[in-house]
């Protein structure tokens, strides 16, 4: 019945995971980083399901359910954090602008490209 062999599924999962990892590393938009995380979680779930199909064990799909619960709560918390950041008056969703404490946020523009002026002088 299973027309996709384990090695094929593992290859697909590896490529999917690499794609998601590249998305997390390359994109700076928080929404795209969350979507890439979802792609990576799906790749992990695919490995579990494929292994469960190969050895005919329902444990693989049980782990898939756990990954589903994890992904749902992760997405909910991540999107809530994004909404919170946006509500504090952040004009973009760039992840690199989230490195300042609230006290510094009012003194300077965090998006001016050089959020920490002291670092340049030190080298």
């Amino acid at each position: 019945m299973s027309v996709l062999s384990l090695s094929d599924a593992l290859l697909l999962a590896a490529l999917l995971f690499a794609t998601g990892l590249a998305g997390v590393l390359v994109r700076r938009d928080l929404l795209f980083m969350l979507m890439s995380l979802d792609i990576m979680l799906n790749a992990a779930a695919l490995v579990f399901v494929a292994a469960g199909a190969r050895w005919h064990d329902a444990s693989g799909q049980v782990m898939f359910l756990m990954i589903l619960a994890l992904a749902a709560s992760e997405t909910a918390a991540g999107l809530a954090i994004i909404l919170c950041l946006h509500a504090r008056g952040r004009p973009s969703l760039d992840a690199d602008t989230g490195n300042l404490l609230p006290g510094n946020l009012r003194s300077g523009n965090p998006l001016s490209g050089n959020p920490q002026p002291g670092n340049l002088q030190r080298g």
């Binding site: 299973s2 929404l31 619960a69 999107l79």
Partner: protein
């Protein structure tokens, strides 16, 4: 059937690559939905129909709706009418629609193949998963419920802070 599996895998990969290269978030969500649907077909072809159904219902249904709601609430960048024009341009939805049509074609193609119940012993149905879930893995179900509850509390807490500061 091997051909169908390879086609679904290719659609999954193309969708995933398009997700991380889009510039507009809504377009990426469209591609991600297609990716998840193709992955559900892969699960079904692997002999896991329960996982495929859950992937469609929970992932492509619930989680993606969360994404769409947040993108709607964020309201980034240009005025609404400009953004809507950009979203509705055919270039934006033609690719996901094409891949979704391919998936639908796969579904219609496999419909005449009646699975005879005797010849498919390696199909892991929802009954097997349920017996395993509430047998040896019942503690894990409780832990997953803790995790979901903590996600709920986290979202509520962050949202409440936001309301109070306004």
């Amino acid at each position: 059937m091997q051909f169908l599996a390879l086609l679904s895998a290719a659609i999954t990969l193309i969708g995933a690559i398009m997700v991380i290269t889009r510039r507009v978030a809504v377009h990426a969500v469209l591609w991600l939905v297609v990716t998840l649907l193709a992955l559900a077909v892969v699960f079904a072809l692997l002999g896991a129909p329960f996982a495929a159904a859950l992937e469609v219902i929970i992932y492509a249904g619930a989680v993606m709706v969360l994404f769409v709601f947040v993108i709607m609430m964020l309201n980034l960048g240009r005025p609404d009418s400009d953004r809507e024009k950009e979203w509705l341009r055919p270039r934006a939805w033609l690719g996901p629609a094409l891949l979704a049509t391919l998936l639908c074609g796969e579904l219609l193609y496999t419909l005449p193949f009646r699975p005879d119940d005797t010849a498919a012993p390696d199909l892991l149905t929802a009954r097997d998963v349920g017996l395993s879930l509430f047998g040896p893995y019942v503690l894990m179900v409780e832990l997953a419920s803790f995790l979901l509850l903590s996600g709920l509390v986290t979202s509520f807490h962050i949202g409440r802070h936001r309301l109070r500061e306004r």
